[in-house]
């Protein structure tokens, strides 16, 4: 990969960064990433993919084995964490248990030598921002998980850093609270115009909050794109599998021509697909298609739509959607999602149906 030169517009820049803990394996392999000012960027990946290490290098708790990390144009590799001026929110909140909420928020201001009146004013404003103004005199143990998370956020913001790092901050919350906090964090970061680097393994969180998402796997960024791009046009089968639900059909490329790859599936069916990272005829491929892009009544799709025979295996009622598991082209794990509309039919196991999709939704990826 060509070395990326210093990007003048980048606020945070990883430049050919590598990291190894034991001198034998690389946890982060040649990371190049530029983050713009005011951007909300999420590092998404399974555990062990290197995303947290990247965050810790930026925060200053890990040193890069090779390469440069720049913040606002300045190399920060050798600057200790307390001089970087980066706010950070931790997964376990890391609120100091022996201090009250006010003292927790006051701490970063105190170590900066700020006067008492100014400190109190800033603490009050920060707590009001996360609607925790009434809880200043309490200790962290007296707050619920969600409240602690708000306080942790306020503490990371109270000294007005331009960059805030968040390491799976919502991981310990229950689903409903998590969704609510996602929007709140997003709104606060938009309002304050801060740059946020957010680490998570939850793809829904990444999609709903981010301006851009970097999908990590095996110490590399597999794809760096806006959420819609990432979901609709995954660039390899890892990203397709990792982001959202995905149906996979195995096959072999017969022919690539004019932006269309003809694939012969293992069942013998031949379908047209969009070639993404298949090179030539004869390549093995995973054909990927999203469950909600499959129609059970393909009649109203265009003339170029593919249709296949399918047998219903299982019907799951999920409230807003129906999830139907089908046996299609040799795979018995083919999912179709349909909206719970008035006239939507509920299929029975064993029933034979025809399903279909348009070729543009069907992407041929690496096997």
């Amino acid at each position: 990969m060509a070395a990326s030169a210093q990007d003048a517009s980048a606020f945070v820049q990883y430049d050919r960064v590598q990291k190894s803990y034991d001198g034998e394996t690389l946890v982060v392999k040649d990371l190049n990433l530029s983050i713009g000012k005011g951007e909300f960027l999420t590092m998404l990946g399974p555990s062990g993919s290197g995303k947290t290490t990247c965050l810790m290098m930026l925060a200053g708790f890990e040193t890069a084995t090779n390469g440069e990390i720049r913040l606002d144009g300045r190399e920060i590799n050798n600057i200790p964490p307390h001089k970087r001026g980066i706010g950070m929110v931790f997964q376990n909140y890391a609120l100091f248990p022996h201090m009250t909420i006010n003292e927790n928020l006051s701490f970063p201001l105190e170590v900066r030598g700020m006067g008492k009146d100014e400190r109190e004013e800033k603490v009050r404003r920060a707590l009001d921002m996360v609607e925790m103004g009434r809880f200043g005199a309490r200790r962290p143990a007296q707050l619920s998980g969600g409240q602690q998370q708000r306080v942790a956020l306020a503490r990371a913001l109270v000294f007005e850093p331009a960059l805030v790092l968040m390491d799976e901050p919502l991981g310990a919350l229950d689903k409903q609270l998590r969704e609510q906090m996602q929007f709140e964090i997003k709104h606060i970061s938009d309002r304050l115009g801060i740059t946020v680097v957010y680490v998570t393994h939850d793809q829904t969180e990444a999609l709903t909050m981010s301006d851009r998402v970097a999908v990590f796997e095996d110490g590399r960024i597999q794809q760096l794109a806006a959420p819609d791009e990432l979901y609709e046009r995954p660039c390899n089968s890892f990203v397709a599998q990792f982001i959202g639900e995905n149906n996979t059909l195995l096959g072999k490329v017969e022919n690539i021509q004019g932006g269309i790859a003809t694939v012969r599936l293992d069942s013998g069916d031949v379908i047209d697909t969009v070639p993404v990272n298949v090179e030539r005829a004869g390549d093995r491929t995973r054909v990927s298609i999203r469950p909600e892009r499959v129609e059970i009544n393909p009649g109203h799709l265009g003339a170029n739509a593919h249709t296949l025979e399918a047998e219903v295996q299982e019907f799951i009622y999920m409230g807003d959607v129906f999830r139907t598991r089908l046996k299609v082209a040799g795979s018995d794990d083919f999912i179709v999602k349909t909206r719970n509309q008035h006239n939507q039919q509920r299929l029975q196991p064993g029933q034979k149906v025809r399903i279909g999709w348009v070729p543009e939704d069907c992407r041929a990826l690496d096997a």
Binding site: P80, H82, G87, F90, A94, F96, H98, V111, R155, A156
Partner: protein, 443 residues
């Protein structure tokens, strides 16, 4: 009744509404508290039976002996009752002279009546062969008097009036007013005199409490030395243990396990072996001195005296008590999430500030527990100072042991031990007031 049975929730709901009727009741009308107690009684009984052996054990081995010790420290019947060695029969002795003491105020010159009473008492003492134990009792307070009693008892039968002259004939010592004051002090089995002796006080011939002469005062000096040495040892263990405990808590598991074995190793070797190895290392012909002389850092006659003095006691006890400081510290440091310090650093604190303001305060319960444990153990430590302490490295416990095993003055030993116990309880109370016993964390 059938109605409530049909809907048990209704009854509770109704009663719950009527709080004024005196608490909640169950669906079938019993008071809720009684029902709860009945439901739990089986489990409670079983729990009690399970702790019963320990309860008895503690009672027999802890509460009872301490009660005995406290009693012994104020009770010594050596001058008032004779217990026959074989029949265990108890006979009051020294009755006449005790009556004379009761009738005359302290400081009265012993007159003929007093000597007559004493002479009569000696007849009984001789008959019971109790002169030895009576003499021993007086000897506690005034050394060199035991033989006076045995000698006088042997000649008791030959005593004729006037008794005063006859007894002074046997020994001039009988005219010493101090001796009479000591006998007066011993004339009651219950006495605070042992406590007075334990803090270097005594009674003069007039029965007033005075300080013992400087050349004989010993115990206060030893209490102070014990206190200061224990404080110093506690401080040294803290300084040495803190970094080790931190390492133990933060190293990866395979290294910390190994380190933990080294910390625990002293527990698995005999105390005597450890103390003896310090002797091998530290004595003037020992390994360290030899190495320093061989290395040319010391001349052969300039060897450092590190053993058989306070230095030896301090070094050996610090080493032996170190694990008792490390383990409580480790147990509070282990669960401290490293993200606290990271958070502090990211918020702009230097590593020193992060340690001082964030890490250290969270380890205070462990420091308190470790310090209390080490201090209490050090205050009562016996074997190590006895072996390596020499003359000026002895602690109060060595003196207690001396009175238990050598001078056989159990009452004085008990008084010294009780003062030590009271001191420790006072310290415990202070700790509770200052830090709070709830904050104590041993593991």
């Amino acid at each position: 009744m059938t109605e409530t049975a049909a809907d048990p929730h209704a009854a509770v709901a109704i009663n719950a509404g009527g709080v004024s009727s005196g608490g909640l009741t169950t669906a079938d009308g019993r008071p809720l508290k009684a029902a709860l107690a009945a439901a739990q009684s089986h489990a409670k009984r079983r729990a009690f039976l399970l702790v019963l052996p320990l309860l008895l054990f503690v009672l027999i081995t802890f509460v009872f002996p301490i009660g005995q010790m406290l009693h012994q420290s104020v009770y010594n019947p050596g001058f008032t009752t004779n217990v026959d060695v074989i029949t265990k029969e108890e006979t009051p002795i020294m009755v006449n002279v005790r009556n004379w003491f009761d009738a005359n105020p302290p400081g009265t010159e012993p007159d003929e009546a007093a000597f007559e009473a004493l002479a009569k008492d000696f007849l009984l003492v001789d008959e019971l062969r109790a002169a030895g134990s009576v003499g021993t009792r007086i000897n506690y307070d005034m050394s060199g008097t035991r033989s006076l009693f045995t000698k006088t008892a042997r000649k008791a039968e030959d005593l004729q009036p006037p008794y005063k002259e006859a007894m002074l004939d046997i020994d001039e010592e009988w005219g010493d007013p101090e001796l009479w004051a000591v006998m007066r002090g011993a004339s009651s089995a219950y006495t605070a005199n042992f406590y007075l002796a334990a803090i270097d006080l005594t009674r003069n011939a007039q029965g007033e409490i005075v300080k013992v002469p400087d050349d004989r005062s010993l115990y206060i000096k030893l209490f102070v030395r014990t206190l200061l040495l224990s404080l110093l040892i506690t401080f040294l263990t803290f300084v040495l243990a803190y970094p080790v405990a931190h390492l133990l808590a933060t190293l990866p598991l395979r290294y910390s396990n190994l380190l933990m074995i080294f910390v625990l190793l002293p527990f698995w070797t005999s105390l005597l072996v450890r103390t003896t190895s310090w002797m091998v290392l530290l004595q003037s012909q020992g390994v360290i001195n030899d190495a320093l002389v061989a290395g040319g850092l010391l001349s052969d006659d300039g060897r450092i005296q590190m053993m058989y003095n306070q230095t030896g006691t301090i070094i050996a006890m610090t080493h032996i008590l170190l694990p008792f400081m490390i383990l409580p510290l480790y147990s509070v440091m282990r669960p401290i999430n490293p993200s606290y310090v990271r958070a502090a650093r990211s918020l702009g604190a230097t590593s020193w500030t992060a340690f001082r303001r964030i890490y250290f305060p969270q380890t205070v319960p462990g420091i308190g527990a470790g310090a209390l444990l080490v201090f209490i153990l050090a205050v009562g430590y016996y074997i190590t100072p006895a072996l390596v302490g020499g003359a000026d490295g002895q602690l109060i416990s060595n003196l207690i042991a001396f009175h238990m095993t050598k001078s056989l003055n159990w009452s004085l030993a008990a008084a010294l031990a009780s003062i030590l116990l009271a001191g420790i309880l006072l310290l415990y109370w202070l700790y509770d007031r200052l830090i709070g016993i709830d904050n104590l964390k041993l593991g």
